[in-house]
C-alpha cells in the first residue's frame, strides 16, 4: 500500500485548525489480513491518519518552514470500528506551535459520530533547508488535493 492516509483537505484556518478526508476502501492492503472475515481498519492507522493531517496543517501554517515529526501521542480513545465504505473526517486543532515542536488535538468522525479521539499529539519541528522547500511544498500539495494559483498560494477545493 502507499502510505498516504489522507486524501484531501476540505477546510483550513492558518495556525488554528484543519479538516481532511480519508476514504476507506475494501481494496486497501491492510484489509487482507485484518481480519480474515471481518475487514476493519487497524486502529494505529486511524491515529496515523490524524497525525498526517496534523503534520500537514502545521507545515502549511508555518509556510513550509518545518517538517513535523511525530514524537508523542497522549490519551487516545477508539469508540467504534472503522469499516470499508466509511469516509473518515479528520479534524485537527492546533494547540501550540513554536520553533521546537507543536501540539495538536485530533478527532476522527464517520457520519458525524466520533470514532477516535486523541487529546494531544506532539510533533518535533524540524527546519527545512531552503533547497528542499520547493520539494516539500509540492509533495504536500500532491497529498492534499490542493493546487497553486499564479501567486503560488495553495487553493484547496
Amino acid at each position: 500500500m502507499r502510505f498516504y492516509l489522507f486524501d484531501k483537505v476540505i477546510q483550513f484556518v492558518p495556525g488554528q485548525s484543519g479538516v481532511g478526508v480519508k476514504n476507506i476502501t475494501l481494496a486497501e492492503d491492510f484489509f487482507i489480513k485484518h481480519y480474515d472475515r471481518t475487514p476493519l481498519m487497524p486502529e494505529p492507522l486511524v491515529i496515523e491518519a490524524l497525525a498526517q493531517m496534523g503534520g500537514w496543517t502545521i507545515a502549511l501554517s508555518t509556510q513550509w518552514r518545518y517538517v513535523a515529526i511525530l514524537l508523542r501521542i497522549d490519551k487516545v480513545r477508539f469508540y467504534k470500528p472503522v469499516r470499508p465504505g466509511d469516509q473518515l473526517i479528520l479534524k485537527v486543532e492546533i494547540l501550540s506551535i513554536n520553533d521546537n515542536g507543536s501540539l495538536i488535538e485530533g478527532r476522527a468522525e464517520v457520519n458525524g459520530q466520533v470514532v477516535a479521539q486523541a487529546e494531544r499529539i506532539m510533533y518535533g519541528n524540524n527546519p527545512v533547508p531552503d533547497h528542499l522547500k520547493d520539494f516539500i511544498k509540492k509533495s504536500y500539495i500532491y497529498v492534499s488535493g490542493g493546487f497553486l494559483d499564479r501567486e503560488g498560494n495553495v487553493i484547496t477545493p
Partner: protein, 151 residues
Amino acid sequence: MIDRILEYHKGKSAIGCKDVTMSEDFLADHFPRFPVMPGVMQLEAITQLASWLVFVSNDFKTKGSLAELGAIKFKEFVKPGDQMTIEVFFESMDSEGVTFKAQVKVKDRVKTVLTSARLRYIPIEEIEDPLEAQEYFQYLTGEKPFGIYVA
C-alpha cells in the same frame, strides 16, 4: 472494487459505493503529479456491481463477465477523497446474458456515463466457491453484519 451495495432490485437496478483513496497503488503512476481514478478502473467497478446484480438476480447461480461495450464517457475527473456512487440499470435479461447501462456519480454530479454494455453469464462454480460468494454478497449489502461487530 465495490465497498458497499446500498440498494438492489432483482433484475432491475443496483446502487453501490466505492471510496477512492490516496493509498491505492494505481494512483502512484496515474499520474505522478496528478492523482485521478483511471477510467478503466471505474469501468471495472461498474462491471463488478453489475456482476453482483446478475448473481442475485439469477438466484446465486451465475456471475457475469464483460462481453460487449457500447460507449463510455468520462466527463470529469474522479479524485482521491471522492465517494463514487455507482448506479446500474438492467435493460434486458435473456438466457445468455444481460444488457445494462450505468453511471458514476460523486455527490450528485455525474462523472461517468456508460450508455450500454453486455455481460455474459458464467456459472459461479467455475470461478468461485458459491457459498463464500453468497456470504460475501450479504456482507456487501449489510444483510449480514461484518463478523462480530454490529454497528
